[in-house]
Subunit: 327 residues, 2 copies
């Protein structure tokens, strides 16, 4: 099969393409060709180098969408996005990439569909940012999308387009509302959500981490490993069970910061959790207060999507996948 | 005040502009200027002719949005739309008018907002077509939007944009999900929903009407008079109570076709209801089966929006407003 991945140089894009050389294509199908696109040139994964075309491109620029699908990929995994903070700071850039470039991709597929019947599977990375407070204790699968950021707005709009284009037979699409990915590998960043990962990642590496909120703050998490699993499952599964409702909240683990710290301590001992320094930041606390805490993601579970059910498992996934199993 | 109305030549646009000469602007404010735009040239309402600029324009064409707001209207009532059936038949036209032209209008206001602080009240006519079956018995205010038509998709997308632009202070926006307007004045048309109006309107005029579905079909209705009332209320009310959730399902009257016929008979006697000829049409029955039947529109009611609470009142509103009170 031929797979196109947009946003392939991002954290999730790299993990996904690495998984292709490790475990093959979705559903175990062999990969004949891989097209990787991002704002910076993505790396070809080991083992698939000869079959990979990696390209740096502005996906909103004229002609880029048509070029991306010129080879008629069987599967399109659309991960490319301007992240939440940047989309909020730069209105035009957020709408240009997160909405207009996505619509250009969808319309390029539509033109190909009209021309030669091309109809790929399309997997879109949406986000729980489509939801905005106030929330019920657990957000159900039929709760409305009232985002409180431009990023969440753009994701919610693409969900609607994806359902409409799928209904019309342009592609066979599915949108996955990803939980906050935790533990994110790499260095601390300035994202308001960064502490959820850094209070685990840094202590496991023997480094100090800053915690800007209280231990009672609850959020919805899944590991990078689970996120890659969601993408594989969405790419391989029979979508007819979805009907017209093509966008799904992914399963995750609802945990408080206190739960995180307790899990870290169980996995790595009190020396690790002692490296967390409390430094309250009211601005971050205020942002985080508007985020969803817990979901009843029964539709995705019934369709076979799986994530960690405890924060201990999330910590262990990080130790296994990023630290070679060593603490 | 200066008011801009798009779609001013449509049924609701004409009723709204006529109301301005009859009862004045929203909240009783005097109207200094009225800008009316539609694909065909709208009529200036009697009594406001000297203060009206009426213009035929393609609202999706370059520069039209900027021209529409050049006079900095205090209130923008955005009614212009390609209707459901046409937006389904013509993909490009539906997205061009219902989405792109609306976004162009929003972005023209955004540019003016940046340039000189312009920030109008914006009232958008959305639709219960943002919802798609299956439904609960009564659709609550937090039910998700999974439209089953491109028209409903476009309305749901504009709702999201309206909320984001309002949150960012570009305008003070509110979206009203209008019920099916009943009794629509005028001639029978080919809309799948046409029979809801024609089985009342035609018999009241002594003419035969065709009923293509069973008497148990239930739907959500409000009179043209109520729809005009919604627009006035939305234009005048304090929107701060809405918070970030700017789109509201309007109140209406849930009635079956049987309820409609019984109401017609109570108002106009059995000679009227005898003019309804049953001619089942499975295609129309299938379309209508996907439409919402009933809502719990408590948020809009709490905010002061009012509609008929019985179908008798809907029939009487038609008799009073369209037939001079005579049957």
């Amino acid at each position: 099969m031929h797979i196109l991945v947009t946003g392939a140089a991002g954290m999730l894009g790299r993990k996904l393409t690495e998984s292709f050389s490790r475990i093959g294509g979705p559903g175990g199908r062999p990969i004949d060709a891989l097209t990787l696109v991002d704002a910076v040139e993505p790396q070809a994964p080991p083992g698939l180098a000869g079959r990979t075309v990696a390209r740096a491109a502005d996906i909103a620029a004229a002609g880029v969408a048509e070029a991306m699908i010129a080879g008629r990929p069987d599967l399109v995994v659309h991960l490319a996005a301007i992240v939440s903070g940047e989309a909020e700071a730069d209105f035009d850039k957020g709408y240009r990439i997160n909405l207009d470039a996505t619509r250009a991709l969808f319309d390029a597929i539509r033109a190909a569909n009209s021309a030669d019947g091309y109809r790929p599977r399309l997997v879109f990375a949406s986000s729980i940012a489509v939801f905005g407070a106030p929330f019920p204790d657990k957000i159900g699968d039929e709760f409305f999308t009232t985002p409180l950021t431009s990023y969440g707005t753009q994701k919610a709009i693409v969900e609607l387009l994806l359902a409409d284009y799928s209904r019309r037979g342009v592609f066979d699409g599915i949108g996955l509302r990803l939980p906050t990915i935790c533990v994110r590998p790499g260095k601390p960043n300035k994202a308001a959500s960064g502490f959820f990962s850094s209070i685990v990642r840094e202590p496991l590496a023997g480094l100090e981490a800053v915690l800007p909120v209280g231990e009672d703050v609850r959020h919805w998490h899944a590991s990078p490993r689970s996120a890659v699993g969601f993408l594989h499952h969405a790419a391989a599964m029979d979508l007819s069970a979805l009907g017209a409702r093509r966008n799904l909240t992914m399963p995750g683990c609802s945990a408080t910061v206190g739960d995180e710290i307790a899990a870290l301590e169980r996995v790595a001992g009190p020396k690790a959790s002692a490296l967390i320094r409390r430094e309250p930041d009211p601005a971050i606390a205020r942002i985080v207060a508007g985020w969803p805490c817990d979901f009843d993601a029964r539709r995705a579970l019934a369709l076979g999507f799986r994530a960690e059910t405890s924060f201990d498992a999330i910590v262990r996934a990080h130790v296994e996948d990023e630290l070679g199993g060593r603490i």
